[in-house]
């Protein structure tokens, strides 16, 4: 063992220091430097593992939070006003007091932010203090530390079912095969186990890992957020390099499974880990209402401007009327009077301060609160809860709830969204005979069983048997069961030397090693290929050297397998493989276990057949088939079973059974089910050997490896004998047709964008009622570009002219495929295309790429200016989900990428109905009404002050105490609208579901239009006039004081505003009552208490005892009643 000279490493560190932009990071072991101070550590420049996702620290909270809040225009406006108030010539109130509303708003927001931040801090702390094992040189063993102590370069050991604390390069595992399984559910939601393999050469099997011997340098990429890409190499002191990839990296946040312990060196820690870099937090979108609302705020500003102008002019003119200054006009401190024009100019600003409430200060805060409440109720909805997945609907975007109520176009993915993406074996056709199966459960067909039994009994071979054998073994399905686990432990016998040699071979990847005997060589080869193609989902045992050691443990295993045969579980990579193998199992052909070179199948007569696997040609999308080459245990024949898509098999059939073929044709027409054909080929020994040699060469090739592998596969996969075909159905999710119908009735256009082929897509479209049988369906699908251009052009013209007539319009369906779509979306055709689409009831786009999906969404969104919603479940839908106004992810079979990109995540397509029709409608109408109400409320209240200006010489006097004015907006009248925004139920959910047409109200923005806004403003003007002038005429000429005059007005407008809301509320619950009555009570209590206490607390004007005096006066009540009734009478 040679210790690397720390000095050289230090120098290393320095060079790194001077070249911060180096594209790679180098990591060395921390152990030699354990006792050094921090600044001498070689890896000190890399971040530690402690994470901090909270934005603020204790000391920086206030300045930082303020800074963030001042990014909002409204806040700047109010602070500006408050500052304006400090200018003596224009101040309307006590300058300090004028700061209160903005301070309260800022404080409320700060408290909210602070609380959220504190929650983040708590989770961080919890994570940072999670225990983990770090190797310590002093104690020469792994000691327990906290996550936050982990640094880059540390050696960390993770036990089974523990969460990985940082991104670790796997160097050691207890698994004899040098693999470690991890579950990435925390990262992407995929529950299947991912296999990671050790970087070979640093640990020996069966021995404890010894990090102190690690003297190499790890060179890898700088941190990035790509979860599927990682590369680098380990450089030994002797400059030997061993490469590694993502399959050696344990990712932070994942969980180690099925592996007793694993150890490795930390390469990324804390915020630099891949999972943290992927964590982008919730997204912020701005909803349509908010955009509209902002323009209305501008209207309010204009209105305010005019009111202030009136005030300023009025004041100037009023001052002009005096020949000499009366005693009630107070000169400035020098005894001079301000010229009237200048006074008017000052008055303009004073008026702005006085009437500032016109711009609803609390509106933004209230909207945020309301949305939080709405999201709470959406996520709490038990109808949107999925029992199976134990998942609620997730709201990932916090501020576009009301957009759910305005959707006009729905773009849906097909697979996994409309359908289950769970394949069900529905039909098979063997030897030209067709057998059907029930929808949910694979119940063996009686006739077919008879056939099988007959063959079993007589000849032990035949097409039926072969068919089911193919079904059972021609796949990459893994058997995971109790027995499999046990077996893994049992084979843990490979010796150290062997492992090391294996390691050596691994390092020189792809190079042929002659030191291996045929069997083990074979294993290696297989292993390489599997890893290379990234389709490893198995725990393969390759530490076998000779036939003897091989046979032994397996024979024992078979016994075990027999005893627990009913407990077999399959881990299938793709759902259709699972469907097929279950079908085979139902017919008695149970795959008992799969090892890299043996497949054991239990036959219906309980006999076990152990096939030696000679090679597996895995599935890829160009060949669209996979093959397995096995040696039959009895006949010793080499047989290749191939399965694949119908076309992929049919074109390579050798001797054709004509009737069989015609039946296969039928298979293709089976209602769009996926047809999978099985075929067989018997290969002679020498043919195989010849091929095998070529294959080996291809495998070890460095250049053009993929192509050569493909060639070899194509070579052997020819002239099959067709065994039969199966029809696999991708079941529709429950109540998809109903949901689509409901969305249709609600006025939404439903488009389906799928990567699938047109036939399947059309069939699904029919079965989910997207297309009706009486619909006129146009299919655009052409290959030649020029022709297509003309064709589509002509057809677009033709269709759009022909079907603008009302007769045909309602029932056009359009099916278009990807290439044609890109043509249609080219510049010269796009207008016509959009025009055509507007007339179509349903549009179905097949064979579209993810990019095209998002292009279509964007096109419709921009050209038609509509609200779009995209729903999808897979990674191919991410683009589309992000392009749409509202993106919905279906958390289904294909991982969580779609969910991660979405604004809302649901589990079933049918939830869309409730989410849109009920919650969308509610959120929309609630928020729209609340925003309108807020504008109304503020205008109504501000106008009271404005009317008073006509009677006080436009001097910006407020007849209501300033504190009460603040409280009025902040406390007395703020809770009811928020409650209204959260809990109002205009129409019950059952009505909304049964009458989807009600949704159209939101689509056409009927809840919140410009006209609604102006009506509300006019209403506010009327009510404020009433609220002002009835008390005015009542008290005119009497000895009423200013505040005594303002108190009834304040009270009256409180009643009016609250009762106005009460009229708007369509359903009253206990909460409503409590809040409404509570608001009124709080008003009286606060006002009474305030006017009882405040003798000289608020100089210069104190409302002492005024409320009491007023409340003792019967006139007060009479005025209140009359005014409220008159103000609300029109409603």
């Amino acid at each position: 063992m040679t210790w690397t000279n720390p000095l050289t490493l230090l120098r290393h560190g320095w060079t790194r220091h001077w070249n911060p932009d180096r594209p790679v990071r180098t990591v060395v072991s921390n152990l030699p430097f354990e006792d050094l101070k921090k600044r001498e550590q070689p890896n000190r420049r890399y971040e530690g593992n402690a994470i901090r996702t909270n934005k603020y620290r204790l000391w920086s909270f206030i300045p930082m939070n303020l800074f963030e809040q001042f990014h909002r225009m409204a806040n700047i406006y109010f602070v500006g006003l408050a500052i304006l108030n400090f200018v003596p010539v224009v101040n309307a109130f006590q300058p300090e007091v004028a700061l209160i509303p903005i301070c309260i708003i800022l404080a409320l927001t700060a408290v909210k932010d602070g609380w959220e931040d504190f929650r983040r801090y708590q989770t961080d702390q919890q994570l940072n203090n999670t225990p983990c094992f770090i190797f310590s040189r002093k104690q020469m063993c792994f000691v327990e530390r906290r996550w936050k102590d982990v640094r880059v370069g540390d050696f960390v050991r993770v036990l089974s079912n523990e969460i990985i604390p940082a991104d670790i390069l796997l160097l050691h595992t207890s698994d004899p095969n040098g693999v470690c399984h991890m579950e990435t559910a925390n990262l992407d939601g995929e529950t299947s186990l991912k296999q990671r393999k050790v970087v070979p050469g640093f640990s020996s099997l069966g021995e404890p890992f010894q990090p102190q011997t690690f003297d190499s340098t790890v060179v890898c990429e700088n941190p990035n957020n790509n979860l599927n890409l990682f590369k680098g190499y380990v450089e030994r002191p002797d400059k030997r390099r061993t490469g590694f990839g993502i399959d050696s990296l344990l990712l932070r946040g994942c969980m180690v499974r099925n592996t007793d312990d694993a150890a490795g060196i930390v390469v990324y820690a804390g915020h630099e880990t891949k999972s943290m870099l992927n964590n982008s937090g919730p997204r912020y979108k701005r909803s349509k209402i908010e955009r509209k609302m902002n323009t209305d705020v501008l209207f309010c500003v204009v209105l305010l401007f005019f009111m202030c102008l009136i005030g300023a002019l009025g004041h100037a003119i009023w001052l002009e009327t005096f020949s000499s200054m009366p005693s009630y006009i107070v000169p400035d401190s020098n005894g001079n009077y301000t010229p009237s024009v200048l006074a008017g100019f000052y008055m303009f600003f004073t008026m702005i301060i006085l009437l500032q409430v016109m711009i609803p200060v609390s509106l933004y805060v209230s909207i945020e609160l309301v949305k939080m409440g709405q999201i709470f109720f959406i996520t709490q909805d038990v109808e949107l809860y999925d029992e199976e997945l134990d998942r609620r609907v997730q709201c990932r975007a916090l501020n576009i709830t009301e957009d759910l109520g305005q959707i006009q176009y729905v773009f849906s993915d097909k697979t996994g969204t409309l359908t289950e993406n769970k394949m069900v074996f529905r039909r098979c056709s063997v030897m030209g005979t067709e057998y059907c199966h029930e929808e949910n459960v694979v119940v063996p067909d009686r006739k077919l069983i008879l056939e099988v039994d007959r063959q079993m009994a007589s000849i032990q071979t035949g097409p039926y048997l072969d068919f089911f054998l193919a079904l059972a073994i021609c796949n990459t399905v893994l058997v995971s069961s109790v027995t499999a686990q046990r077996q893994r432990v049992r084979v843990n016998v490979a010796d150290l030397a062997g492992a090391e040699r294996v390691g050596d071979v691994l390092r020189v990847k792809g190079r042929r090693s002659s030191s291996y005997s045929g069997g083990s060589f074979h294993n290696m080869r297989q292993w390489f290929r599997k890893c290379g193609l990234g389709k490893v989902f198995t725990s393969m045992k390759f530490f076998k050297r000779g036939g003897e050691t091989l046979a032994d443990p397996f024979s024992i295993d078979e016994d075990d397998g027999l005893s627990g045969s009913e407990e077999v579980c399959y881990e299938a990579h793709s759902p259709d493989e699972a469907a097929l193998i279950h079908a085979a199992k139902a017919y008695g052909f149970t795959m008992m276990e799969r090892t890299p070179h043996y497949v054991t199948v239990k036959l219906p007569d309980e006999a076990l057949l152990k096939f030696e696997v000679l090679d597996i040609l895995t599935f890829d999308s160009t060949r669209r088939r996979m093959s397995i080459i096995v040696r039959h245990p009895h006949t010793k024949e080499i047989i290749m079973y191939t399965k694949g898509a119908d076309s992929a098999i049919m074109e390579r059939l050798g001797n054709v059974f004509s009737d069989c073929c015609s039946k296969i044709k039928c298979v293709e027409q089976w209602c769009g089910w996926k047809a999978v054909c099985f075929s067989l080929k018997v290969i002679s020994e020498q043919e195989f050997r010849a091929w095998s040699a070529v294959r080996q060469e291809a495998l070890s090739a460095i250049e053009e490896k993929e192509e050569r592998l493909m060639e070899t596969a194509n070579f052997i996969e020819s002239s099959f004998t067709l065994l039969g075909a199966t029809g696999i159905e991708d079941r529709l999710q429950e109540s998809v047709p109903e949901t689509i119908q409901a969305l249709r009735r609600a006025g939404m256009q439903v488009w389906v964008l799928t990567g699938d082929k047109p036939e399947t897509a059309i069939n699904i479209a029919y079965s989910c009622k997207l297309l009706e049988h009486e619909d006129l369906v146009f299919t655009f699908s052409t290959n030649r570009k020029v022709l297509q251009c003309q064709l589509t052009n002509a057809s677009f013209r033709g269709y759009s002219s022909a079907f603008t007539g009302p007769l045909m319009e309602p029932s056009i369906g359009l099916v278009i495929d990807g290439p044609t779509l890109s043509m249609a979306m080219s510049d010269e055709l796009v207008e016509q295309f959009v025009e055509l689409c507007k007339h179509c009831r349903a549009v179905l786009c097949c064979r579209v790429t993810p990019l095209q999906k998002s292009a279509v969404v964007k096109l419709i969104r921009q050209k038609l200016r509509v609200m779009t919603l995209a729903v999808g479940d897979g990674a191919n839908d991410v683009n589309m989900i992000q392009a749409a106004d509202v993106g919905i992810g279906v958390s289904g079979q294909e991982g969580m990428q779609a969910v991660m990109a979405s604004d809302f995540a649901i589990t079933r397509f049918k939830h869309l109905q409730r989410l849109l029709l009920v919650h969308g409608h509610w959120c929309y109408s609630r928020l729209a009404n609340m925003v309108i109400y807020f504008f109304y409320k503020n205008v109504a209240y501000v106008n009271l002050l404005f009317w008073y200006q006509f009677f006080c010489g436009f001097s910006a006097t407020a007849m209501i105490d300033y504190w009460l004015m603040i409280f009025f907006n902040l406390f007395f009248t703020s809770a009811p609208p928020i409650m209204f925004g959260i809990m109002e139920k205009e129409v019950s959910d059952s009505t909304l579901l049964s009458l989807p047409e009600l949704y159209k109200r939101g689509q056409h923005s009927e809840g919140y239009r410009r006209s609604t806004f102006w009506i509300a403003i006019l209403d506010a003007f009327y009510q404020s006039l009433v609220c002002f002038f009835i008390p005015y005429w009542t008290y005119n000429g009497s000895d009423i004081g200013i505040f005594a005059f303002g108190t009834p007005m304040n009270t009256v407008s409180l009643f009016t505003i609250i009762l106005h809301l009460a009229i708007e509320i369509k359903s009253w619950t206990a909460v409503h009552w409590v809040i409404m009555i509570g608001s009124v009570l709080v008003y009286f209590i606060v006002t009474l208490a305030y006017s009882a206490i405040c003798i000289s607390c608020n100089p210069p004007s104190d409302p002492y005892w005024i409320m009491h005096k007023q409340m003792a006066d019967p006139m007060f009540y009479l005025v209140c009643i009359l005014t409220t009734v008159v103000a609300l009478l029109p409603r």
Partner: protein, 372 residues
């Protein structure tokens, strides 16, 4: 042969609790509570505006409001009120000569006598007001120009009044008590009433000058500095009088120590700034006669003797003297009664109209088209 039920969900090894919820083994269902609140199924009362509910409401309003209105109108009409303008704008007016001198600084008292006749007897207590028009006591800067803590007897504020009082804060380097524009513009006309008895004698009518301010103002809000120190002149020694005043604050009513200084009721009344530019303020109370047999003010000829100090010509103001009896609803004001009657009638009328509409068309359209 067995039939196998296939369900991929069972196979994909999903471990509840491992997704999102953190620690392993935390098998906690995320199923939302099925409570009425969380499911938004709270029992709700849904008021639906139908003819059945709205029509009775209209009639109710009508039936309640009209009697209230009549009651108010009758009460208002029973209140006797007499008002006389003594500004002296016209040449013929007795106060014309006095009104020409509108400077605050004139030291010589100008008096004038305004005769008037009461046609009806005034029963019970009669309130005597002075009224000013076009006097914007509600001007923002004016309203603010006071120091409540000084008026509350705070010693430090007495000598160092609030800045709000500027420019009436100090004069001759002494602080002004009471400071501010409101105090400075205190109404300082003196009004006296005489009854010209038919037998020719001129009887002075006793005017009560206490009891005109709010009890709380007099006893809590306004207090003389130095507590019960009766020697007010020494308390206010270091202060100067407001510039427009003829006499310092401790001489407002030398005869009655409880009505002197800051607690002088005329002063307190003035300090409660009026809401509207035309206002009246209570000046004196004429107590009803003890015997209850003769009216407080019998019909006949009276004369109002005015010591004319207060200039109003600069702002085109008017000064009035008002005599009024009082009821539970305050002064005479027919507006509220008329308004109640009007609203009640309108409601009733609307109710009738809607009832007719409802009867005619209601069978066809059950949800009567009532505006919102």
């Amino acid at each position: 042969m067995m039939a196998s039920s296939y369900n991929a969900k069972d196979e994909d090894g999903h471990l509840p609790g491992s997704v999102g919820s953190g620690g392993p083994g935390a098998v906690k269902s995320k199923k939302p509570d099925n409570t009425a609140f969380k499911q938004q199924r709270l029992p709700a009362w849904q008021p639906i505006l139908t003819a059945g509910t709205v029509l009775p409401a209209f009639f109710m309003i009508g039936l309640i409001f009209i009697p209230i209105g009549i009651g108010l109108l009758v009460t208002s009409n029973n209140i006797k009120e007499f008002e006389i303008d003594y500004t002296g704008v016209d040449m013929s007016s007795p106060c014309f000569s006095c009104s020409q001198n509108y400077s605050w600084n004139s030291t010589s008292a100008c008096t004038c006598s305004v005769p008037f006749t009461l046609d009806q007897p005034f029963e019970s207590n009669v309130f005597m007001y002075y009224g000013l028009s076009n006097f914007y006591q509600n001007h923002r800067r004016y309203v603010k120009s006071r120091d409540d803590s000084q008026l509350n007897g705070d010693k430090s504020s007495l000598l160092n009044p609030s800045k709000e009082c500027e420019p009436y804060r100090t004069s001759d380097k002494k602080s002004i008590a009471p400071c501010g524009a409101i105090a400075n513009s205190l109404f300082n006309d003196t009004l006296e009433l005489f009854y010209n008895h038919p037998n020719g004698s001129k009887i002075t009518i006793h005017l009560e000058k206490t009891g005109i301010a709010w009890w709380t103002d007099k006893h809590v809000k306004f207090r003389n500095p130095g507590g019960n120190n009766n020697n007010l002149s020494s308390v206010f020694r270091d202060t100067s009088k407001p510039v427009n005043w003829h006499k310092p604050v401790y001489e407002l009513d030398p005869s009655d120590p409880d009505n002197n200084g800051f607690v002088n009721e005329d002063f307190i009344v003035w300090m409660r700034t009026a809401a509207l530019p035309t206002f009246r303020k209570l000046y004196r109370i004429i107590q009803k006669k003890k015997d209850n047999m003769t009216p407080t003010l019998p019909p006949g000829n009276y004369s109002l003797e005015v010591t004319y100090n207060y200039p109003v010509r600069s702002f085109d103001g008017r000064k009035r003297m008002i005599l009024s009896t009082i009821s539970w609803m305050g002064g005479k004001n027919p507006f509220l009664g008329i308004a109640y009657i009007t609203v009640g009638s309108v409601c009733f009328f609307l109710g009738v109209v809607l009832l007719i509409i409802h009867h005619k068309y209601g069978n066809r359209n059950n949800s009567a088209d009532i505006p919102n």
